[in-house]
Amino acid sequence: MDFRDTPEEAAFRAEVRAWLEANGNKRSRPDEVFGEGLDDAARLAAAKAWQAKKAAAGYAAITWPKEAGGRGGTAMQQVIYQQEEAAYLVPGMIFEISIGMGLPTVMTWAAPELKARFLRPGLAGEEIWCQLFSEPGAGSDTGGVRTRAVKDGEDWIVNGQKVWTSGAHFCDYGILLTRTDWDKPKQEGLTMFIVDMKAPGVEVRPIHQMSGDAEFNEVFFTDVRIPDRYRLGPECGGWKVMLSTLMQERLSVGGNLPTDLHEHLIALARKCEWEDRDGGPRPAIEDARVRARIADAYLQQKGVELIIARGLTAISKGKAPGPEMSITKLVAAKAMQDIAAFALELAGPEGLIGHQALGGDWRYMQRLWLSSPGARLGGGTDEILRNVIAERVLGLPGEIRSDRKLPFRELERA
């Protein structure tokens, strides 16, 4: 048992490190993000330039086969690249859906000429992809989508609305889940397409999040025309295509979970004062209640880090990660919320003052507090994740459902 790289992994890490040192910029503070101070257009241009450089060096899709433009490398090499890149100012989310969902789905399901058309420019960041599955009436229950695609000669005409689409405002293409047959049961009447996000009839509206940010969008489709050759998989085979897309997420071991929250907590506790029944005030860091919460913070986030280390061990040996990986998001997102909330409490009533007035030290935890409710929802709510663990890991029965066999049209009426 050890935490060291194998000689091959160490060699790859050294290669990645040298390339990043020569080509990237390191973060100067932990919460610094790519393109601070640039406007949206300039940040997007800078992100595309970085992606082009990364693709040319063979790091854009390490695990993809060489004939698809990848490196033909191992999952562990992908993880090592991500670990090393984490110290650098790189565009985080912008290409994540392209590389993690859109392009792999194209690679699995599209005709050869479409692969030739889309894979290379997608990898190089010239075109960016989004994923259009969720709808206002189909969130956790994705099988309930109502966006309608109707065949018209060699084309399909699409009408409907998608929601929670990351990056739709700057994307060029998307993978779109539609309903093409309303007489089949809900999951059997779905069909997947590639959609041109710049096509007439596509309208993107940003969603104003509770955190003040706008990372997601609503996307409206009005008589949007999609050629049949842009169909991914068979007609009414969309559910299977979607599952294959989501399976890709399983490989994205590691994610972007912060591993230093207890250190932030310690730093803030050193600056606050607490009284207890022995009097005071004393530095909060000396208070047993505060120390207990610092220990709790460590237990959660270090636990998640170690579970990922187990997953990486499996990957390093060429095996699939174990079922314990399924708890990471559930634990990490709630831990983020709990830790951030306690950090704010350290300052008592003053902790209600925004970081703009209270001080930059508080910015990170205040932003984390406001974003953590979204982290508990995205990629599966806590409740859905508990169902997944209970059913797939523990083998407990699935939910009793009345909608599996009925034609979707009848569900709509009921």
Partner: protein, 362 residues
């Protein structure tokens, strides 16, 4: 990255699991629970003969000379099967204290006897929590006087390592000047006894820093106990899951209700978090890493919580049947309590974890 046990280590674990499934049955554990046996002799004999419990005792002292990683997996199986054996007293505590602080002569004399099962050893290395201040033990260089109020496996032990003031003292329990009285215990499958010393012959473990040795041994024990806790927690969760699949109410398997599914998912999450903290502790223990105090305290707190919640909710999820003497739920409820307090409660260990974290961040 190799954050897992090796295939050979897993083979040893499998062998121990198979053996304990046959010898540490519910019936065998209940012999101890109901006072008809002091410990589960068949399981103990087999664990000794397999070289499993003496995995971390060097070969020159009669052990298997494997290491602590192997002992961790033995501990996990002992926890899984609720083994009623003096494993923690003899091997996590006493043998480790002898190895770290004993003279060559003391090690040569006692360790082979412990490893062969000829002598059961126990230890009391101090706790940060107490209720009654017992008459303090006094050691005059040659004899020991006073009372050790709740010595694990004190009823059958022939040897004890005791912290007396600033010293570690080795006392034979079979000779003159020692008397013992079993005390009623919340987990009778891991019995305690009060031991009274009246000018009993004893000798010093020649260490310059008894406190440091005790802390180091307790850290190791925290890791090993965490494996027992994780093993027990996983077992009671499995039994609860199986029962929830079998039992029907309101026309359905009770395991199909989200109230139960989600609770079990949370227990699973607590166990898997505890498991990786225990693994990290195993790594730190086996490699003698400077992270050991932090890793051991984290393993202790996470595993204590996981086993307690799995045992408490195991009864709850079973419903009325879980509250009966015949079901094994209460064996886990008792064992979770025993393991969670044997070397100090989670609160003391959480304070120790915070100390380590804050010191590191200085």
């Amino acid at each position: 990255m190799n954050f897992d046990f090796s295939d050979d280590q897993r083979l040893l674990q499998d062998a121990v699991r198979t053996m304990l499934a046959e010898t540490s049955t519910s019936q065998a554990v209940r012999e101890v629970l109901e006072g008809r046996a002091s410990h589960c002799a068949a399981a103990w004999r087999n664990l000794i003969e397999m070289g499993a419990v003496a995995a971390a005792v060097p070969e020159q002292y009669g052990g298997a000379g494997l290491g602590h990683l192997e002992l961790c997996l033995v501990a996990e199986e002992a926890g899984r099967h609720l083994a009623a054996v003096p494993l923690s007293s003899s091997f996590y505590l006493a043998a480790e204290a002898l190895l770290r602080a004993g003279s060559e002569a003391q090690k040569r004399h006692w360790l082979p006897r412990i490893a062969s099962g000829e002598v059961v050893a126990t230890a009391a290395l101090g706790s940060r929590e107490r209720y009654r201040a017992p008459a303090p033990l006094a050691f005059d260089g040659e004899t020991l006087t006073g009372t050790s109020p709740a010595l694990a496996d004190g009823g059958i032990a022939g040897l004890a390592v005791l912290r007396v003031g600033g010293e570690l003292v080795l006392a034979g329990l079979a000779g003159a000047g020692v008397s013992r009285e079993p005390v009623p215990t919340l987990d009778p499958t891991r019995p305690l006894a009060e031991i009274r010393f009246e000018r009993a012959p004893a000798e010093r473990l020649p260490t310059a820093d008894a406190a440091a040795v005790a802390a180091r041994v307790l850290d190791g024990a925290a890791v090993l106990l965490a494996f027992e806790q994780v093993g027990g927690a996983a077992r009671i969760l499995e039994q609860t899951r199986d029962y929830a699949l079998e039992r029907k109410a309101f026309g359905r398997q009770i395991g199909s209700f989200q109230a139960l599914k989600h609770k079990m998912a949370d227990i699973y999450a607590a166990i898997e978090l505890a498991r990786v903290h225990a693994y990290y502790g195993a790594w730190a223990l086996s490699s003698d890493a400077p992270e050991l105090p932090r890793a051991a305290a984290a393993a202790r707190v996470a595993a204590t919580r996981a086993y307690v919640v799995a045992a408490e909710e195991g009864i709850e999820l079973h419903g009325g049947i879980g509250f009966t003497w015949e079901m094994d739920c209460h064996l886990h409820y008792r064992r979770a309590r025993h393991l969670g307090q044997l070397i100090g409660s989670e609160h003391a260990w959480r304070a120790r974890l915070a100390d380590a974290l804050i010191e590191e961040a200085a």
